[in-house]
Structures are given as C-alpha cells and as structure tokens.
Assembly symmetry: C2
Homo-oligomer: 308 residues x 2
C-alpha cells in the first residue's frame, strides 16, 4: 500500500517510510497520471487539497479531475474524505481531507496532543482530542477556527506577512508584489538548503543564496547594494519572526480551547518549529515520512481499517 | 511629441491628450519595440519604472533593456531621470522617475498641493512644494517616507491588504495565495467595468462579475456557494476599506509634514479617490491623460524645456 497526498503545488508519495515530494503544479497542467504511472500495480490510499487550485472553476470539478487522474494510473485507489471514510468515486467529502487523515492516524497514540503540521504552503493546527468535532470541517471553517494558518516554509509571499519592515532602524513599507517567497527567507537564514527549495522561485530564477538575497531586496524595491547584506537579512529575519508569531498565536488559541498537554510538530517545517517550543518532533519518530504526514497517515489508516 | 511611461506591467502612451494603456508585461517577454514601432517617425519623451521587473537581475540591466527597446523603435527618444533632466542613454538616474515627471509638470500650477496618483499597481503621494527635495529619491526612500504606497486599483493581491476578513460576523483568516486581485474587488463593487480590468486575472480566467466572485471567495478557501453573495461582497468591500485607509493614512502623514492646502488626484483610481475626499480630480482638467499622468507629464515637461 502506498499513500498519496495531491496538493495544488506538490504531490507527496509515501511507500513504506520512503517519501518523495514532487513539485506538480496542477494549475500549470502538470500530469498527475504520468507521475503515478509507475505505481499502477500497487494499492493506494489518497488524500487531496489540490481541488482548490484555481485552474478549477469549483471544488467538485477539482475533485473529479484528481480522482480521474489518479484512477487512470491506479484504478483501485481509495480516497479518504472529511467524513473519515474511504471512497472509490469523486464525492464532495474528498475536498481538503488531508489534515484529517493525519489526525486520524495520530489520535490513538496521542489523544491529548495538538498536531502542528507546517508544510510548504500552509500550517495545520489540529486538536487531536476533538476528532469527532473535526469531521466535516471545510477549509473555510478551519480558517475561522484557527486550525488552518495560511503560511508555509516555501510558498508564502513575503508581503502577506510583512506589510512593513525595519531596515537600518527605518520603518519601510513593503511592495505587495510577489517578489520573494518564504523559501528565500529560510534559505538565507540557513533553515533550508538549495535542494530543499523545491518550489519555483518568484522570478523563476536560481535557488542560490545570491539570487534569494536579490529577491528579498526587491520586497522594498531595492537591490542588495542599496540596503547591504545586513538590510537584506533583516527582511528575512523579520519575516520569519512574523511567520513564527502567526503560528505560535494560532497554537495558543487552540490550546486555550482544548486543554492539550503535548505539541507534536510535523511537515517540512517540523524541526524548525520544534526548536522554538517544547514539542515532540514527529521526524524523530517516523523519519522523513513526517515531511509528508497526510500521505503516510492515509496509508496507515487504510491498513488499520483493513486489519480491524 | 508623444509621452511614454514604461512600467513593468503596463506601457502607457499619450499622443496629444489621447491616451492608451497597453498591458505589456516585461517579465513575460512582451515586445516593447513592437508596441512602439508605429511611432518610429515621432519624437518621444520617456519615463520608466519597469526596470524593477524581476526578469532583470538588477535595475541597471532593466534600464539598459528598456532604453535599447525604445530606441530600436524611436532612435531619438529622450529619457527623463530622477535628476529632473533628460538623457539620451541608459544611466542609473532613469530608475523609477515617472512620478517625478508628474510632479515636475504640476508643480508650477499647483505649488502647494499634494498629488495622489493611484495607478494599477501603486499609489504615489507627492508633496509638490518639495520638488527640490524629491529629486534623486529612490523607490526605497519613497517607501520609507510614505511617498510610495504599494497598492493599486487592479494588480494588488487581496491577501496583502487583508490578513483577515469578517464574514457573516465571523472573523476569518485569509489565504496568502494570489487567488484574487484588487481588480476583482473593484469590479464587483462597480468601481470598474470589465473593459477596465486590463491586467491578467490571477487564475487567467474571465473578467466577468461571476468569475471575480469566484476568485474573491477563494481568498477564504471557499466557493461562492459556501459564503453566499453577501459574504463574497463583504470580502471586496473590506478590502477596499483597508486599501482606502492605507492611502488616506499615507496622505495624512505627508500633509502633516508639508502644510499642503490642496489634494490633486490622478491615475486610473482618480475619480474613485476624489469622491472620498475634498480633492481636485485631474481627470476633470486634462481628461483621460490623467490616467497616464507620467506619460502625459514627461511630454509636457519636454515641450516646456524646449520652449524655455
């Protein structure tokens, strides 16, 4: 059994604990069937969130597209929904259920924990003690309840978290253009390597430190020469502080309402977050499968259901 | 004499008072020379801000590209710089001098006014009484002094101005993805017509009210059916209020420091802004040339210099 998580930008595959993350932007017409073809003789459990990609006029069109594309490669694939059940056809419940699969997998072992899964694009904050109340929640409802924080390690427009920045002591408004992304900030801060910069750069340029510094300077309409490398690093650092504050405030809000005793971090931002708080880093327990937790989890839940 | 303003996204042309705005995204390789070819036998005065487009590794590369592309079509073109002088070759002073040309044109007639030029992407707030102090300012310095507010009528990511929105009384965090743009908000609010939606839509889709409502709902990860048309309109309305607040605070800050007695609005957002405050709408004085003020202004300044 393999686990698959089809996002709008990335498709994640877990086979055993071997994890691969493919940049597969659905809105650019990347071929999901082609990517999955080599697994045609395997069984697969699937979750998705890619139905929200704006190449689809609505979520149901996205669900139908993804189910069809997966089944072209793997006809017997099973799809997990927000009702915590598996389905074989395109039904509305399949919209954005990847986070629920992660909760479903972890809730037995960690019934009183909060899961914080920081991915490339978003961060899920999930109170595992409330599994029954989580069922059926849409992304809209999760945004309202603080369970979905739309900020991630790689694909977040710097301007969205940083309306202004202090450079050399001077408060400076930022450009709202998509000039730099969170991957640029985390690259120059040493949180990720160029290899881990798996999304496209905003200018479609190189993923080197030098190119990232150029993109970061552009956020204040400047070149690195105009603000110095200290100014450029200030932009990266203040972005990360703003992003961290957003996540930590979110965790605090969810903890207040559910008396959790433990925080578990997962996702590609897991180690970075675990360092900042007293948390269980899921990467220490399940290895790189933690980077693609919903894909790993949906496979484990399918196996658990089978053996029950 | 024609006036040309080469932006990153739009190139604006003024011939007499006849104004055309061409969507000509330099980062997508649109041909500036091709666009200008039919003016090959005319004299031209040029300003730019497109050198910041992220297809160029630095501003000087952008300036050289734009000067070369313009001169391929119009060999004798003159380029206005932040030193308030005309140049015939690519020099650093040509970076982002379009706003200064507008100030240079208006300062004699309105020496104590503040010019508020709201374009597709940015809004310039310029104290005309300080013309000498304005010379040489970079976009970085203008962001720091509040003279450049990076929000516009068409091309501003909704998420940049709207980290959260109240929908049906419930505070809702927004997605930081580029799902909807200010043109979507202004279209559904009736501030612009589909014809005036001259930039590309975020999903490259249609510029109808229905498609814009779909893009706006996506800002909270929803479909229009999930939040109703009132919810979708709330997103548009709250964005516009946030955008307006940003501009009005900026004007207040600049007025405080320079004792201006008059506000002049210009740019494609001129009429919308003039309605909200006691201002001279430049569109009532110079017609549609107000929509492309720097292009009109650089031509007028060149003619004034000639006759001096």
């Amino acid at each position: 059994m393999i686990g698959i998580d089809v996002g709008g930008a990335n498709t994640k595959l877990v086979d055993g604990r071997e994890t691969t993350i493919h940049y597969c932007p659905l809105w650019e017409g990347a071929s999901l069937t082609g990517l999955l073809q080599k697994y045609h003789d395997r069984r697969a459990a699937v979750v998705m969130s890619g139905e929200l990609a704006d190449c689809f006029s609505g979520k149901m069109e996205g669900i139908e597209f993804i189910v069809h594309a997966v089944k072209e490669a793997i006809p017997d694939a099973l799809f997990y929904g927000t009702d915590a059940c598996f389905h074989q056809t395109a039904v509305p419940q399949l919209a954005a259920a990847n986070w629920l699969a992660a909760a479903d997998y972890l809730r037995l072992e960690y019934p009183d924990a909060i899961l914080v899964d920081m991915g490339s694009t978003t961060t899920d904050i999930i109170p595992l003690s409330r599994f029954d109340a989580l069922k059926g929640l849409s992304d809209l409802q999760r945004l309202q309840q603080g369970y979905l924080v739309y900020t991630g390690l790689l694909r977040t427009n710097l301007a969205a978290a940083l309306p202004q920045v202090v450079i050399g002591g001077i408060e400076t408004a930022t450009s709202s253009e998509y000039f730099a992304t969170s991957a640029d900030a985390h690259l120059v801060l040493g949180h990720i390597s160029p290899d881990e910069y798996t999304c496209e750069a905003p200018d479609r340029g190189e993923k080197t430190r030098e190119a990232a510094l150029r993109r970061l300077a552009r956020v204040v309409c400047a070149e690195p020469g105009e603000i110095g490398s200290s100014g450029t690093l200030e932009i990266a650092y203040q972005f990360w502080r703003a992003q961290e504050r957003q996540i930590i405030c979110g965790i605090g809000r969810v903890m207040d309402e559910c008396d959790a005793d433990t925080i578990i971090t997962a996702g590609i931002g897991s180690s970075l977050l675990a360092k900042e708080m007293d948390a269980i880093n899921l990467r220490d327990r399940i290895g790189e499968a933690s980077d693609a937790l919903p894909a790993f989890a949906v496979k484990e839940v399918a196996l658990r259901d089978e053996s029950a």
